[in-house]
């Protein structure tokens, strides 16, 4: 990787944006990259806005807090944009020149003309991935939506090795020791319930990653 990647993940409480950020960050850390992960939330409630920020680089990273000028924006739920359920507004403003947007949706959203125009000016790339659908299809639960979103991301740009990603998931779902908020812990339990064994779950998750990577559509701004 040549320069710092700053990622903003915006979702709703319960969708696992915070977990996705942790998995991605830990994977990068395993690949010996410099990394910080910041979750950010107000009321920790299902469907309330939840954002998470990941910064990855080969150089030391000091900065923390919200990523105001992301290279990559991941949108876990259309409501983030359509209902303004996010911490950053106007939503696309900070996206860097040549940045990437990844949206969980099967079909393109109706972006405003202004948004489309300004994104085009910045030579932004927009991708859609039906993450919830993929999660349902492959692992049988929409709770893997966040993993599918990571799959979409890796489909666009493999931020870490697959091995690191898999190990990071293992660490996250394997031990009992991971520190998560109560809401997250409750969802973790629900996820684990779905699968008999952790290994089985990781396997499914890696399949979700692959499948999601294959289900990307690029959306033309012009």
């Amino acid at each position: 990787m040549s320069e710092k990647i700053s990622i903003r993940m915006s979702g709703l409480g319960g969708q696992g944006a915070v977990t996705a950020a942790h998995i991605l960050g830990a994977a990068a850390y395993r690949d010996s990259l410099q990394v910080t992960v910041n979750p950010f939330f107000g009321a920790e409630k299902r469907l309330a806005p939840a954002e998470s920020y990941v910064r990855i680089s080969r150089e030391p990273i000091f900065e923390r807090g919200e990523v105001l000028y992301p290279n990559i924006i991941m949108i876990f739920h259309p409501h983030v944009i359509t209902l303004g359920k996010c911490y950053t507004m106007p939503f696309f403003d900070g996206l860097r020149e040549g940045g990437t947007i990844l949206i969980n949706s099967g079909t393109p959203l109706d972006l405003t003309k202004e948004d489309r125009q300004s994104l085009a000016e910045r030579r932004a790339k927009i991708y859609y991935v039906p993450a919830t659908e993929v999660a349902m299809q492959v692992s049988g639960t929409e709770l893997s939506t966040n993993i599918a979103m990571l799959g979409g991301l890796y489909g666009i740009r493999p931020i870490t090795t697959m091995k690191a990603l898999e190990e990071s998931m293992m660490e996250r779902f394997g031990g009992g020791k991971f520190v998560a908020s109560a809401t997250t812990a409750a969802l973790d339990d629900a996820v684990k319930e779905k699968f008999g064994k952790v290994s089985q779950m990781i396997e499914k998750n890696m399949e979700v990653v692959r499948k999601a990577g294959e289900s990307l559509t690029e959306y033309s701004l012009s």
Partner: protein
């Protein structure tokens, strides 16, 4: 609905949000609605951000639908899950600090009495178990000792839910929660008994599993608080998120607890309060 506060100034109808217009046209103020009328009028809560399926949200919805006079009711809340509902509630309501709800309500009620000597202004406190039985207990009890004319409703989800599920004084003994890693070491605080000992004129414990019982309790409590003295209602509804059960299991779970005798619907009414209710009933009959 004659109070100007509920009317939209002529010419402004168009620019008001549709929910607001609906509220003005079809809200519950001054209509004498109750729980049975739910589903047929525009309610006071306009969407809320609590977890989907939260029984505490249901408790609040039912409690608000049970208010005898929403058009002149001011709510005092406290920090906690419930405080996320109140910005969405079409009543004047106060959030001050975590736990000081009954002190705020005491000042508020007395001042409202001064300003509106000829009107009934109900002051109803709605707060979590942590706010009521832990951090705010002194102020709750002193408002009872002082015989303030306010109703206190505790939303007992058996935890500090909004901060991520820590043990509260209302958690059951043995419950393993955050900050109680080896299980809670002491029993659930007996607030209804304490309330009675502290001078409440009316005390009830019930749950959203019994909407009509809940409604009766709230109505009685608010009416009695007006004239007789402080009243207390405890609404039982464990937090699904933090106790890790499915929201749809909430009501079966409450009923199961009732069967096991772990939770008891209770009601206590002082003689004076009973006489007062009887007199209202008399008056109504005439």
């Amino acid at each position: 609905m004659n109070k100007p506060i509920f009317q939209i100034s002529p010419g402004f109808e168009e620019i008001m949000p549709p929910e607001y217009r609906e509220l003005v046209a079809n809200g519950p103020y001054g209509k004498g609605f109750g729980v049975s009328d739910l589903g047929s009028y525009k309610e006071l809560i306009e969407e809320h951000p609590l977890c989907a399926g939260c029984g505490l949200a249901l408790s609040i919805r039912l409690a608000l639908a049970s208010l005898p006079n929403p058009g002149d009711t001011v709510i005092v809340g406290s920090t906690g899950c419930s405080s996320l509902v109140f910005p969405q509630v079409a009543l004047h309501n106060i959030h001050s600090l975590f736990g000081n709800q009954n002190a705020v309500a005491s000042g508020l009620k007395r001042a409202l009495k001064l300003r509106f000597p000829d009107k009934v202004k109900d002051v109803v406190v709605i707060a979590g178990d942590g706010a009521t039985a832990d951090i705010g207990l002194d102020m709750v009890m002193q408002s009872w000792f002082r015989r303030e004319n306010i109703t206190t409703i505790m939303l007992d989800n058996e935890a500090y839910a909004n901060t991520g599920g820590q043990e509260s004084g209302m958690s059951r003994q043995g419950a393993v929660l955050n900050m109680a890693p080896t299980g809670k070491k002491f029993p659930k605080a007996t607030l209804p008994e304490v309330a009675q000992a502290a001078g409440c004129a009316y005390v009830a414990a019930t749950s959203p599993a019994h909407p009509r019982m809940l409604e009766k309790a709230v109505r009685k409590a608010v009416l009695i608080a007006r004239e007789v003295g402080p009243t207390y209602i405890q609404l039982f509804s464990p937090c699904p998120t933090n106790y890790k059960f499915k929201p749809q299991e909430t009501i079966p779970l409450i009923k199961q607890r009732e069967k096991e005798g772990i939770f008891r619907n209770q009601e206590y009414i002082s003689d004076e309060a009973q006489r007062f209710l009887d007199s209202l009933e008399e008056a109504r009959k005439k």
